[in-house]
């Protein structure tokens, strides 16, 4: 039986179990004289039966699907006499057997392989049948068990809610374990990188040229993995972005929260939020095709040299991208300042702008700082705009008109295309990723801490 058919059948069984549970509860309730005689509402008896019927069977099916390939492979490979030594060779051999089994490999093959292919097919059919039989038996059996166990005293609601709690916990854990998994994989790959390149060279080296020679006598064979130019590039682009985003975002938030009439606000706020919905790729080519040439021409007309891909162009566009982020966070914080403070200031004869400058903003400052720090960590992690508009050469420069490269851009270029995953060149990407991860994590941590600390003090 196909897995999908089995799955549909199981769902059908669950539905039946649900209905059976309800009707059983209703019958008993009727006999006893009313729903009040039951320990839970009929719906809960339905869910209780359905959970008994479905959950173990689905769990079995899931586990089976995860492990069945590996087990079959082990069984098949076990029978083959002269296996190749390398993992790659074994993979190749098994792929050959698989192709043979599904009839995609035409031509003669070694009799040993023919036999293995036959065995593979046998195992697969057997596995599928066994899996179907077991899960169906489990579903029907446990469903019937739940129905038989039914009694009006059964606290079905509590049991169902217990199961629900476990389901929710599992989902929460899935997210957490994914994060931990990503962190660990980045960490271990980085450790491999630091076996070839020293940590000090990576953190303090001034030259970035991630090339590894294939032959000893190749031109430019010496790779250099000093991340300082990348860090300065990232910082420069981020700082330029924040110079655009913070004033504009903050002031638009102040306007929206304090000055705008309801009508203007209802119109302006969604429009501003559309800006947040523009895909970063679109910002990227806007930066590369419109802003960067404009910056270059402007610089030329002022008699300055500007490269056609510049930190300034990327930073400006990134700043525009972050405006809605800053403004909507600040807007929330400003709106959270109690009206009584504004009334107090106005009641003393402050003008509107004095109220905003001297009372509202200071009261909202911790939240605003937190929002800005979150925006900075977004700017540091932003990729698409800088890939298109900032350039690829790792310049160690303080001139925003020159092209710089950022950590994210280098990660992209290191991993684009076919790469071997054990050279320092590709492993460098993981080291950069780890660095990025740690720095944004720290920024977020500080941001949340600042917000929390000052909030405690003022409320």
């Amino acid at each position: 039986m196909q897995t999908s058919t089995l799955f549909a059948l199981l769902l059908l069984l669950i539905l039946v179990a649900y209905g059976a549970g309800i009707s059983r509860a209703l019958t008993v309730a009727h006999k006893r004289g009313g729903l009040r005689k039951l320990a839970a509402l009929p719906g809960y008896y339905g869910s209780y039966t359905a959970l008994w019927c479905g959950l173990p069977a689905l769990l079995l099916l899931g586990t089976w699907l995860i492990f069945d390939d590996a087990i079959i492979r082990a069984l098949v490979m076990d029978r083959i006499a002269d296996k190749p030594d390398t993992i790659a060779g074994q993979n190749l051999l098994y792929a050959q057997i698989q192709n043979l089994a599904s009839g995609r490999l035409i031509g003669d093959a070694a009799p040993q392989l023919q036999e293995a292919a036959l065995q593979l097919n046998r195992l697969r059919t057997g596995s599928r049948n066994l899996q179907a039989a077991l899960s169906l038996i489990l579903a029907v059996g446990l469903g019937a068990f739940a129905l038989l166990r039914f009694s009006p005293e059964l606290r079905a609601r509590e049991k169902v809610e217990q199961v629900l709690r476990w389901v929710l916990l599992t989902c929460a854990c899935a997210a957490i374990f994914t994060t931990v998994g990503i962190l660990l994989s980045v960490l271990f790959e980085s450790l491999r990188f630091f076996q070839t390149v020293s940590l000090t060279e990576f953190l303090f080296g001034l030259h970035w040229s991630p090339q590894m020679a294939l032959r000893a006598d190749q031109v430019g064979s010496s790779g250099a993995f000093g991340a300082v130019p990348l860090i300065t590039g990232t910082l420069m682009v981020s700082v330029i972005a924040m110079f655009v985003a913070v004033p504009v975002g903050l002031m638009s938030a102040i306007y929206l929260a304090e000055y705008a009439s309801k009508r203007v606000r209802a119109l302006a706020k969604p429009v501003l939020e559309i800006l947040a919905g523009v895909p970063t790729v679109v910002y990227g080519f806007f930066a590369a095709l419109t802003v960067a040439p404009f910056v270059r021409d402007l610089a030329a007309s002022l008699g300055l040299q500007a490269s056609s891909e510049s930190a300034l162009a990327a930073g400006l566009v990134m700043g525009v991208m972050i405006i809605p982020f800053v403004s909507s966070l600040s807007d929330d914080v400003i709106n959270a300042v109690p009206q009584s403070l504004r009334d107090g200031a106005l009641g003393l004869g402050s003008t509107r702008s004095e109220t905003v400058r001297k009372v509202v903003i200071p009261a909202a400052l911790p939240g605003i700082v937190g929002g800005v720090l979150l925006a900075v960590s977004r700017a540091i992690g932003e990729t698409m705009i800088v890939v298109m508009a900032a350039g690829l050469t790792a310049n160690l420069t303080a001139n925003p008109l020159e092209s710089v490269t950022t950590v994210t851009v280098q990660i992209v270029t290191l991993l684009v295309g076919d790469q071997e995953f054990d050279s320092p060149k590709t492993l460098a990407a993981f080291a950069l990723g780890l660095m990025l991860f740690i720095s944004t994590l720290m920024l977020n941590f500080v941001a949340l801490h600042v917000v929390k600390k000052y909030r405690e003090q003022y409320d």
């Binding site: 009439s261 309801k262 109690p338 009584s340 403070l341 504004r342 009334d343 107090g344 200031a345 106005l346 009641g347 003393l348 004869g349 402050s350 003008t351 004095e354 001297k358 009372v359 200071p362 009261a363 003090q457 003022y458 409320d459």
Partner: protein, 290 residues
């Protein structure tokens, strides 16, 4: 007893609207009973109507607030006393689609109108709110805020003096003089409210509006504020909205009873509480509703 006789009996008989003559003591609320006017009025309000959008919150209220007088405004919730109070320094301006009609003057000068600047008005007519609302700044900065924005003090020493005087008058100086640099929000509720009063006094207003200043405070803190109001009366004119009739009786010279957006009765506080002229006032102060 009709309103004319009362007027004749009262020392501060003012010109009474003619229609009031015909009015007997009854449940009619369209005209105010008692003596809403006085000779040395600091603020005069005539035929004030307030609308929130389409809804009318205040109906044709006329009232004087005399110099160095404490006027208490009482009435059941939603009767418009806070709205009326907020008209007196135009705090209602901050509420969108709130419209105030009528003639309101401070020392004979209109307080509404195109040409009137609301900022100096609010410096002259200060306000203390229901909930203590110190700024998230130090105690010193809270009091110094007003003088700073109005440029009242030119030197630091002058500012220090204003802060100290205001805190002294608000009866808070001894409690906070050693911790002026600590946040005002760290004080107790009663202290916070006195800080807010000190903050209002610091800009030397002529009138102080108080919107249920004790409703968030315990009885001891309330007693201190009431004491303070009695002292402040020597220098300031005070209008206070309160839910506590005992408080109105303790602190005010005249009491105004509001009902459903109308001013039902205004009279000397003693008269209102011992011999109310209007049936609704009587019902309220004897606790039959409210």
């Amino acid at each position: 007893m009709d309103t004319m006789t009362l007027d004749a009996a009262g020392q501060t008989a003012a010109s009474q609207p003619e229609s009031a003559e015909r009015e007997a003591v009854d449940t009619n609320t369209s005209k105010t009973v008692g003596k809403p006017f006085c000779d040395d009025a600091k603020m005069r309000m005539r035929n004030v109507n307030v609308f929130y959008g389409e809804t009318q919150a205040i109906h044709d209220i006329s009232l004087d607030i005399g110099c160095n007088e404490v006027v208490a405004m009482i009435g059941p919730s939603g009767c418009g006393k806070s709205t009326f109070l907020r008209c007196l320094n135009r705090m209602n301006d901050t509420i969108e689609d709130c419209r105030v009609e009528g003639e309101l003057t401070l020392d004979g000068e209109p307080i509404y109108g195109q040409k009137v600047d609301v900022v100096p008005l609010r410096a002259r007519v200060g306000m203390v709110f229901q909930k203590p609302n110190p700024f998230p700044k130090s105690i010193y900065e809270n009091v110094a805020y007003g003088p700073k924005i109005h440029g009242i003090a030119r030197r630091r020493a002058e500012l220090d003096e204003i802060v100290e005087n205001s805190l002294r008058r608000a009866g808070l100086w001894n409690e906070v003089k050693d911790r002026l640099d600590q946040p005002g929000t760290g004080l107790s509720g009663g202290q916070q409210q006195r800080l807010c009063i000190a903050r209002a006094i610091a800009v030397s207003p002529e009138v102080i509006l108080m919107d249920e200043p004790c409703s968030a405070l315990d009885p001891i803190a309330t007693a201190r504020i009431e004491e303070l109001i009695n002292e402040l009366r020597e220098n300031y004119t005070i209008a206070i909205v309160t839910h506590s009739m005992q408080q109105a009786a303790r602190v005010s010279q005249r009491t105004a009873y509001f009902h459903l957006g109308r001013l039902v009765e205004v009279n000397d506080t003693e008269t209102v509480f011992t011999n109310p002229q209007h049936e609704l006032t009587e019902a309220y102060i004897t606790g039959r509703f409210g």
